[in-house]
Amino acid sequence: MSRIFSFLTATRGKGRLHWTDWVSYGYLLFGVLLMFGPVVWLVLSSFKTPNELDRFPPRFLPYAQDVAEVEGFEEPLLLFTVTEGDLAGQIVAQTRRAAGRAEVVLPDDPENRIRMPAANLEAIEGIAFATENYTSLFERFNFLRFFWNSTFITVMATLIMLLVNSMAAFALSKYQFRGRTAVLLMVVGTLMIPQTVVLVPLFLITFELGMLNSLWGVIIPGAATPTGVFLLRQYMITIPDEILDAARMDKASEWKIFWRIIIPLSAPAIAVLAILAIMWRWNDFLWPLIVLTRSENFTLQLALNSFQGELQTDWPSLLAMTVLTLLPIAAVFMFLQKYIATGIASTGGK
């Protein structure tokens, strides 16, 4: 903890701040604002009521008007402060409002209804988090279903992709066979074809295989990626052949060499690829949108999209679910980010 503190407060000047300290901290602060501003805005907005979201100009923190239970009224009433007239300074509860005039009562005296211009009333507001935005996700929508779909696709697709890619990379980096270079060139060549170009043929194949509207239809087509094969191959090339020879002399089968020698030694590159794959799969939108049409198969990204209707958008649910969608990927990134730095440095990838 003290190390983090001393790191964060490190200065060039001793005792007082050097001008470079001002510049660097200013620049860093600017970066933090740029990166975290939208995220903070999103999180705070997800706790706002629909009225507050529509308000212009917008306010930073979520506010809600105070209400009070008043005897004789079923619903809680909104509270106001009176600004002019006899009751100036008093707190009143509004019972009705129409055409610029409001009917209010004093909370202690609910029988006596007073009429006054609405302009004389000032709303009493306090910071309040509209947690119902979140609870309704679970009540009105099948959030857990979407979450499960997304998790299943991400985990399975990442595992399958790592397995397929690392086996391909092992063969391409450590075995001599006729046509090896040709295979590698083809793999790298597919990097140059954008996914949108092959979208239609891919769809047709998926359709013919009967994988439409199934989670496997999302997982299988992305099981082997040229980037992954290439990244792992470049890393595995650096593993000395003598180690493999030693393992062969030790009577290890090729399969065992792959699992016990190659995989552990490629761990940094595999970690990088895993992180990239998790982020890619979790955030993937276009392909699931094409394959999955029934709402019980929706991933979180598709569910988010469905909140945005042609005529109206359910902003509170959309914002709340966006926050929940961000959380797992942020957690994964936080735990694994050190591998990204070390892994990318050693694989030369990016």
Binding site: E242, A246, A247, R248, I261, L265
Partner: protein
Amino acid sequence: MASIELRDVRKSYGAADVIKGIDLNVAHGEFCVFVGPSGCGKSTLLRMISGLEDITGGEVVIGGDVVNSIPAADRGLAMVFQSYALYPHMTVRQNLSFGLENINTPKSEIATKIDEVSKMLQIDMLLDRRPKDLSGGQRQRVAIGRAVVREPRVFLFDEPLSNLDAELRVDMRGEIAALHRRLGNTMIYVTHDQVEAMTMADKIAVLRLGELEQFGAPLELYNRPENIFVAGFIGSPKINFVAGRVAEDDRTVLEVATGERMVLPSGGFAQRPGQAVTLGVRPVDLQPVQGGTLTMQVRSVEQLGGESYIYGHLTDATPITLHSPGQTQVNMEETIQIGPINDQLHLFDTETGRTLRMD
């Protein structure tokens, strides 16, 4: 029985012949060293014996069985690599046990064997460390331990000491020799260092450009080299070569290229009058002598106290090295007379490079 026999073994990569037909017989329990300059194919030959490299032609026979088509793992060999090739992600113990686990050795037996071998190689206190935490010498021991623990029929060493510093190399040399005496296995050891070869081997195979130049005991190679290459490769400091021609009138007289005449030992060589020959004399057999037949211009003198080296050249710039015991009176830039002090001369046909020795 784990003798090794190579029968006309060949290896080519496409059109390039790397091993050009080698016949060799290593008896059971022998320590055989393959030596040669880099690129001579000695490591390739070792890898062909191990099974890690395919054989283009000929047969490799281990313990009486032709093993050409038997995979490396089933040949009953163990190999120590130049880079040690330890598994970096495993502890020393796991490195040692990996091979045993692969042949389904019971756990208790693995533990006993590792215990025994690690004690013998003095790595028992390192068992839970990883290779990166070990020094070069310790890694070397672990690599040897990994070979020993599997109790192979034959040990193969591929330049195992070349990554160590000079002092450690001498120590490890002694240890490997001791290991051989203790285990009594057949061992094949590849090196480019002729000192290693001379000190450790029962038999040395000198290779050059994929061909076997000579195969024999160390002193046999030193005393009776079959050709110019072996004479020049074995022995330190390097043997002196003097080019010349056998006199037309007297075949016991050598006309040196400088014009000087020198008497050859009477018997033993089959030289013809007028034949172009190369005389080989080891630095210890050539000394400054009163009335010596050759004139040497001294370039530098190294006085080591107990012994001295004199470097220089003949009048036609043929480089000459003298190695004499004790301290010498010769000074730099001096011109001295030198001559062989005994019959330890080697005579080669300059054209073919082969020895003219008759017996």
